[in-house]
Amino acid sequence: VSIPSRHPRTAFAGSAGTLWAPYLTLGLAVVASYRFLPALGQLIAIELLAVTGTAAIVARLRGRPEHPLGWRLLALVCLAFGVVGWGFWQVEVAVSGVPPAPGSPADVFFFAGEALCLAALVVLLLRREPGSGPLLEAAMAAVAFGTAAWVFLIHDYVRDDTLALAARATQIGYAACDVMLLALAVRILFSPGRRTGAYWLLTAGIGSLLSADLLWNWLTLAGSYAAGSYYDLGWLLFLLLPGVAALHPSLLFDQARRGGRHVGARYLLLLAGAALAAPLLLAVEAFGEVDRDDVAFGAVSTALLTGLVLARMAGLIREELRLSAEVRVQHERLEEAERLARLGNWEWDLTEDEVSWSSGLYRIWELDPSEFTPSYEAFIATVHPEDREFVETTLGGALDTGSAEFEFRVIRPGGEERVVHASAGLVRDAAGRPIRMVGTAQDVTERNRAESALAASETRFRTLVSNIPGVVYRCALDADWTMEFLSDAIEELSGYPSSDFIGNRVRSFASIIHPDDEVEMERRIWDAVDAGRMYAIEYRIVRADGATRWVLERGQGVLGASGAFHLDGTILDITERREGELALVAQNERLEELDRMKDEFIALVSHELRTPLTSIRGYLDLLLEGEVGEVTEEQQNALRVVDRNAERLTRLVGDLLFVAEVEAGKLELERRTTDLTAVVRDAVESARPTAESKSVALTIVVDEVPTLQGDPVRLAQLLDNLVSNAIKFTPEGGQVGVRTYVEDGSVSLEVTDTGMGISAEDQRRLFERFFRTQKATAEAIQGTGLGLAISKAIVEAHGGTLAVASKEGHGTTVRAAFPLPAPHGSEARQKEVAA
C-alpha cells in the first residue's frame, strides 16, 4: 500500500503553479516564428502548440478545477481543431502549396472544434447565474454580432453565386459559429464569477480565434487569403492560450471573487452599443451601396435588440428598486438598533463643513431635529464646559492620526448631564486629503454608573477578603481544584501569586498539596460534597521554597448558576498551632513520665524507709519497756520524744505510699459492712488527748446512720486525718465538732472547727498533693500537705464526695458525703431510728 505523501492537488500545484508564464513565453516565441518557417516547420509548430495545449489542460484536470467537463471539452477542441484538423490542412498546404478546398475533412474537424468550443463555454458558464440577465446579455451580443456578421459576411456569401455551395456553406457556418462564440465570450467577460486570470486568458484565446476567422472570412471573400502568412496568428494563439489559462494558478487557487453585479460605465456602454448596433448597420447599408432587400432583416434585428435591451433595463431597474427597498429596511433596522443601544452616528463633511446627525444622536442629546441644526460649533456648545477643551483637542488630534475614541459629558437642553462615549474616524480621498470625519456616539451614563457601582462593590469585597485571616477561594470540583477565585493571601502561604492558580494558568492548586495528603483530602471533600455537608480538613502544602505548611481548609460544595458544582471556602495556615500541639503532646508525655517516675520513687523510698523505721521503733519499745536495762525518768522523756518523731515519720511514709498507690490507680478497698458511727466515735476518742492538751473542745453529734459497705481501716484513716487537721488548725479555746447525719439521699460526715479558716484562693488547690496553705506554712504548722488529698481519695474510692466550706478567720467545715446503700438499708435505718 502506498500512501501519497501529499494531496495530488497540492502536489501538482507545487510544480505547475508557476509553469504558465514560461509556457506562455515559449508559445508566443513559436507563434512569432511561425511566419518565417517553411510549410513543414509550420506543421511542426502547429502540432507542438496543439499537443502541448491538450497536455497542459489534461494535466491540470488532476488539480480538480471547477467545471472539469468544460476543460475536458477544451482539451478535445485543441485535439480536434489543432492536432487533427489543422494538421490535415497544413499537410495539404505543404504538399500542394494551397489549402484544401472548402468542405474537406479539415473543415469537418474545424467545425467539430468550434462545436466543442461552444459546448465547453456553455458548460463553463453553467450554474450560479441567477435571473434572466445573463441570458439576455448573451442574446444581445449574439443578435448584435449576428447582424454585423450578416450584413458584412453571410449576406455576401449567400448571394455570391460564383462560389461553390460547399464553400459558401462553410464560410456561413464559420461565421454563425463565431457569432455564438463571441456571445458566450462576452458573457464570460461580464460574468462576476469569472473575473480571474485563467478566464481572461481563455477569453483572449476565443477572441484570437474570432479575429482570425473574421480575417480569413473577409480575405477569402476578397480572394486575397494566403495560407501560412501572419493571417494565421490568431488561430495559433487560440491553440496556445487555453493551455496557458489551464496552467494559470488562479484556476485552482484564486477562487473568483463573487461580488455583486456592478452596473458601471462599461456595462452601460455595452447596452447602448447593443441597442445602437442594428440602426447603425442599417444606416451604413442605407448610405452605402447595398440592396434594399435587407431592410426587413434590419428592422427585425433592430426590434429584437431593442426588446432585449429594454428587458435587460427593466431587470436592472427592478433590481435597483429591490436594493433601495432593502436599504430602507436596513436603515430602519439601524435606527432601531441605535435606539436600543443608545447609539447614534454622525458625519462631518470637512470640505463643505457640514455636519449631519442620525436620529439616534438627536435622541441621546434630546434635541429636536427641526430646531437644532448640527454644526461643529453647535455640537461643542452642547458639551459640558469642563470637557470642551478636551473634546476639541481630541477631534483635532483625530484629523492628524485618523481616529479617536473618547468620553465626555453633554448637557441636555433640560440641564441633565449625560456621559457619552464617542468614536471618530477620518476618511481621505485618493490623494490622501481628509474629506470627511465619521463616527458614533453612545450614551454610557447608566453603564458607567453600573460599572462604578460594580467597581465599588468589588473593592469592598476585596478589602473584606484581604482582611480575613487566611485564603478565600472558589474552585471547581475537579482533579486540579481549578481556581476561579483565590485571594491574594495565597502568596504569603504558598509563595506563588494568586494569578498562577486562576484557571491553572501556571500551576494547579493540586500541584502544591503534599503528595501524602492528596488522596485523603480528595476523599474527604468528595464525601462532604456527596453528603451536602461542610468539610474541615487539615493537610500539608509544599511551598515554593520547598517548606511544608499545615493548613486547615473549611468549605462546602455550592451549586452554581450554570448547574456545575464548585467549592467555596477558606484556607488557614495552622502550622504554628500544629507544631504547638505536637510540642504539647510531647511535653505532656514527658510530664506524665516524670510523674510516674516520681510516684515510683516515692514508693521505693518509702519502702526503703520502712525497714529502718521498723528497727528504730522496735528497739525504742525495748528501751522504753525497760527490757534492756533500767531507764531513768529523764532518759524515758528523751526516748518518748524520739518515739513520737519516729511515729510521725512512719505515718508520713505511710501517707506517701498511699498517695503513690492512689496515683498509680492501685488503691483497693477491703469492703465490709461498716458502722460509720463506731468509726467516728473511735477516732474522736483517740484524738481527745491531743484536743485536751491544746484546750480545744471536741464535741460529737452522731445521728443513727445506715451501715456502709466500706473499708473500716481507710474510713478510720479518713476520720483521723479530718479530726487531727481540725484540731491542728484550731487555736486554744476553739471548738471542733464531728457530726454524722442523713441528708439528700446521702450519709454525711462533717468535721467543723472554729479555726483560722482557708482563703478562697487556697481552697481551690486544697486537694492537691503536697499543697499547704500559706498560713500553714507561715505559722509552721506541721504537715505534709497529703492529708486532704488522701481523704479525698478515700471518700471517692467509696463513691462519695468531699467538700470544704470555709471563711478565713471563722473556721472550716469539711463534709464527706457517701451515697446511701440500697433501699433495704434505708428501711433498716428507719427501724433503728424507731427503736
Binding site: 520502712r610 525497714t611 521498723t614 521503733r617 522496735g618 528497739y619 519499745d621 525495748l622 505510699l657 498507690e661
Partner: protein, 127 residues
C-alpha cells in the same frame, strides 16, 4: 513438732537489726528462736530442725519468702510448719501470692513486735 515444751520458731530476715529484735522479742515471750539471714539458710534450718513455726521476710536474698514457703510445703518433713510472712508490700496481689505459696498469715512492715508476738501465739495456740 519440737519435743521440748518450748516451741521452736524460725525467724528469717536479711536485716540483721530486725532479725535480732524479733529474736529478742520472741525469746522474751518464751519461744526458742532459730535465726536465718537469707532464704537458703532459712530453708536449710527448717529442714534440719523442724521448727514449730516460721516467720519469713518476703524480700530476702537468694530465695525470697514466697519461694521458701512453697519449698517448705513441697517437703514431707516441713509440709505442716505454719508460716507467717513479713512484708513491706501492701498490695492484695502480694498478699494473695503469699497465701498461694502456702503462708498461714502475714504481718505488714513496719510492724510492732507485740503484734507479731500476738500472731505467733495465736497460731501456735491453735495447734
Amino acid at each position: 513438732m519440737n519435743e521440748s515444751s518450748t516451741p521452736l520458731v524460725l525467724v528469717a530476715d536479711d536485716d540483721a537489726d530486725i532479725l535480732a529484735l524479733v529474736k529478742f522479742r520472741l525469746e522474751r515471750a518464751g519461744y526458742a528462736v532459730l535465726a536465718a539471714s537469707d532464704g537458703e539458710e532459712a530453708l536449710r534450718l527448717a529442714t534440719e530442725q523442724s521448727p514449730d513455726l516460721a516467720v519469713l521476710d518476703v524480700m530476702m536474698p537468694k530465695l525470697d519468702g514466697y519461694e521458701v514457703t512453697s519449698r517448705l510445703r513441697q517437703r514431707e518433713e516441713t509440709r505442716d510448719v505454719p508460716v507467717i510472712l513479713l512484708t513491706a508490700r501492701v498490695q492484695e496481689a502480694d498478699v494473695a501470692r503469699g497465701f498461694e505459696a502456702g503462708a498461714d498469715d502475714y504481718v505488714k512492715k513496719p510492724f510492732s513486735p507485740q503484734e507479731l508476738g500476738a500472731r505467733v501465739q495465736a497460731i501456735l495456740g491453735r495447734r
